[in-house]
Amino acid sequence: MIKTNKNTPKNIILSLENVSISYGTFEAVRNVFCNFKKGNITSLIGPSGCGKSTVLRSLNRMNDLIPNCSLKGTVLFDGTNIYDKRVDPVEVRRRIGMVFQQPNPFPKSIYENIAFGARINGFTGDMDELVESSLRKAALWDECKDKLNDSGYSLSGGQQQRLCIARTIAIEPEIILMDEPCSALDPISTLKIEETMHELKKNYTIIIVTHNMQQALRVSDMTAFFNAIEYEDGDGGKVGYLAEFNSTKKIFNSPKEKITQEYISGKFG
């Protein structure tokens, strides 16, 4: 029997309670318990196929878009299980925004890219101001203030990714999920995105999936290490699980689990 804890501490914004996610009959992750703190940057690391992206996508119900994907357990956000039947996934995604692996601006102008999300969320204030402040927060304003009417595609890859971040900020979410936001970018753009994330930390909670352990070390306060192993009752395939979850310092300096130690020292992955 799963207990839902309605009295989560104030600083916990999102918590996973015994979450298992499957694609059809294939189980991707099993029995994840995890609490994300408000105002923190939490990074999810782990080898390929350990289900960290799956977990991330489950946090704002993007998994709904993948056929056959099902979730057991509870994801508590703001005291509500977002997988409750009465919950509207659209509303969840308005409060938990997402930035994807590949920069994916809309085929519209830079201005419209940001205004689009705000407008559909019923924003009625000064749109010019919102566009400017969002771009400033994403550290993109200086680079594109003179070409707001140019297509979003005219920007470089790193700029496009920051545009996508600005677009997410513009809907003023409480949490921003980032799925390997820098994996398609060069080191300089990566650095800029990381600076942006440090700025954003003041106002938002960020959860980021990354393959780059140095990045996890640089940007995050907390780190969750996922691993995949074969279960005896499984069909032979590897199933992901949360191996260790602690402050980033502890994970990288004195991990409790041997497997974490091996992963961060590059023995596998």
């Binding site: 659209v90 994916n104 809309f106 559909i120």
Partner: protein, 297 residues
Amino acid sequence: MNSLYYQKRLSRNIGDKFFTSLSVICALIAILPLIFLVTYILIKGGSQITPELFTLEPNPPGDDLDAGGINPALVGTLIITTIASIIAIPVGVGGGIYLAEYSKGGAFSRFIRFGVNVLAGVPSIIAGVFIYALIVSTKILFGSMYSGLAGGMALSILMLPTVIKTTDEGLKLVPNELRYASLGIGASMYTTILKVTLPSAFRSIATGVVLGIARAAGETAPLIFTALFSYYYIIGFGDLFYEMGSLAVLIYNFALEPYDAQNKLAWAASFILVLSILSVNIFSRILAAFTEKTKRV
């Protein structure tokens, strides 16, 4: 040791040359009918084009001196195709959206896809007979029998599969990342489709619609059973409920007449029909190019 230089006489190189030229020849033969057909019609029909052609009613066969014009048929084709588009485009685009965006590949959507393919293969004359049985012979449309409205319905059946298929395929080409982007910032499915996916697929959908229109505009068989033919000007809304002429049926009727004047009129009508279908196709290209440009602004 074989030399690294290219050797003409090597059997693989000879075979390669042979098949390359064979495919070039086949490609040329494939394009020949189009070239001949268009030039023939341009020569035969182009010489018959006069200003009166566009303004006069056709004269009944027998008056060998002057066959008149094709005004009612030209206007009729426009009206019938418009009616067909009004029916087929919303239904077709809507159906395509369902298939590409909402359906999850279940039995229902597979059934629809299969049905659309079958419908695309239905001979056009069957569409005509179907509407004849459903609308014309039952006089269900306010007691009218043969009518432009019935003709439009028959043509819409022929347009429908093309529109559904191209919408479905056009939407599937839109990268999923774009949908995720929109849904990820809290857009509903409806907003995402209307504001993001559909505009991105506009080009392929427009091309499909235009192809559907072009196909429908040239159809004769379904119109013989439904719109029939008329010699008289279309003057008002009420004419929708009566027999209506069209270029295709005019060609069919007049090309078979023993009189030279009528035959010439049929050639002129062929010229106009081919030219307008060609220009509709070219228009779709310009449209596509235009939307491409505005996207990059």
